[in-house]
């Protein structure tokens, strides 16, 4: 469970890690803690999955990945876990989820985000997913984002 000190560390690092030679010491000074305590708590949060990882998030577009598709598939419920795992393991899939259908108009229950530098690249990725799903693929669609209307960081409960 997170305690008050963990939450303070989360708040202090939500915008990012300080770009100072000793970033954990910098956070510790801001919060009146020791660097060892901050490092111990961050390690514990990483081990428990509260922190997915500490690292960099690139801007897809700036790296040349201008073709970002949300591929959606209608997969029989009894095989979705097995196939979802396999689709998620494809090296070009960044996110893969099982989500509810909204019948009749939205029959898709498997979502996989794909990223490529070209339309041909995305088409090839979609084909590879379709090949993997083979006859379990009962329909699919690809939604491209035409515009980012809003993008902010997530807020946390503090």
């Amino acid at each position: 469970m997170l305690d008050e000190t963990d939450r303070k560390i989360i708040q202090a690092t939500q915008a990012g890690l300080p770009l100072t030679p000793e970033p954990y010491q910098t956070i510790a000074e801001q919060l009146g803690l020791t660097a060892d305590n901050v490092m111990m708590r961050l390690t514990a949060m990483q081990n428990s999955g509260i922190i997915r990882r500490i690292g960099a998030v690139p801007n897809h577009y700036k790296l040349g990945y201008r073709f970002n598709g949300m591929t959606v598939w209608n997969i029989p419920d009894e095989v979705i876990d097995e196939l979802g795992q396999k689709v998620g393991q494809l090296e070009f899939v960044s996110h893969c989820y099982h989500r509810p259908r909204h019948l009749p108009e939205w029959p898709y229950n498997l979502f996989a985000m794909v990223h490529s530098k070209s339309q041909e690249g995305v088409d090839e990725q979609i084909q590879r997913i379709a090949d993997l799903l083979s006859s379990y693929n009962q329909g699919c669609d690809v939604l491209y984002s035409s515009k980012i209307l809003k993008k902010t960081g997530f807020r946390t409960s503090t």
Partner: protein
């Protein structure tokens, strides 16, 4: 963005050490000085090549709730609906997409109940049905992209 920047981006997507002088450790692995790594990271953040650098928190693990939702915004009301939905602080991302369900947004709240409240408020204010698609299961999440 040059070859060194690309190596930095690729290396830092894999993770960052928790130790007294982590930049020095990563810089040594990349054959850079600590100062150069920090300066380049700052530049990559300033010019938007990196959207974030630091701990990536899992909202649900912290007791928060997250969902993906969509609406069919009539073309003639698209801007108005965008404005209403974006005004909710609970809406973290919002994308226009090429589909009849043409607006897709992520709602992040402190509790699961607040997701339902936010959806109800969006439906009330826009007069549109919100298609709520919370994840039943996560198979994979990894934002890594080769620079």
């Amino acid at each position: 963005m040059d070859e060194i920047d690309k190596r930095i981006i690729n290396a830092l997507q894999d993770g960052f050490p928790i130790c007294a002088a982590p930049y020095r450790q990563v810089a040594a692995q990349l054959g850079l000085s600590e100062q150069e790594l920090i300066a380049r990271l700052k530049a990559l953040l300033d010019n938007g090549s990196l959207t974030r650098f630091g701990p990536l928190y899992n909202a649900e693990q912290m007791g928060g709730a997250l969902t993906l939702a969509a609406v069919k915004a009539p073309i003639e009301r698209f801007d108005e609906v965008t404005e209403i939905i974006n005004a909710f602080p609970e809406v973290a991302h919002n994308y226009a997409r090429n589909h009849e369900l043409n607006m897709w947004f992520v709602i992040a709240t402190e509790t699961p109940e607040q997701i339902q409240q936010t959806i109800a408020a969006i439906e009330r204010q826009t007069g549109l049905s919100v298609y709520n698609m919370p994840k039943n299961k996560e198979y994979f999440v990894n934002l890594k992209l080769e620079a």
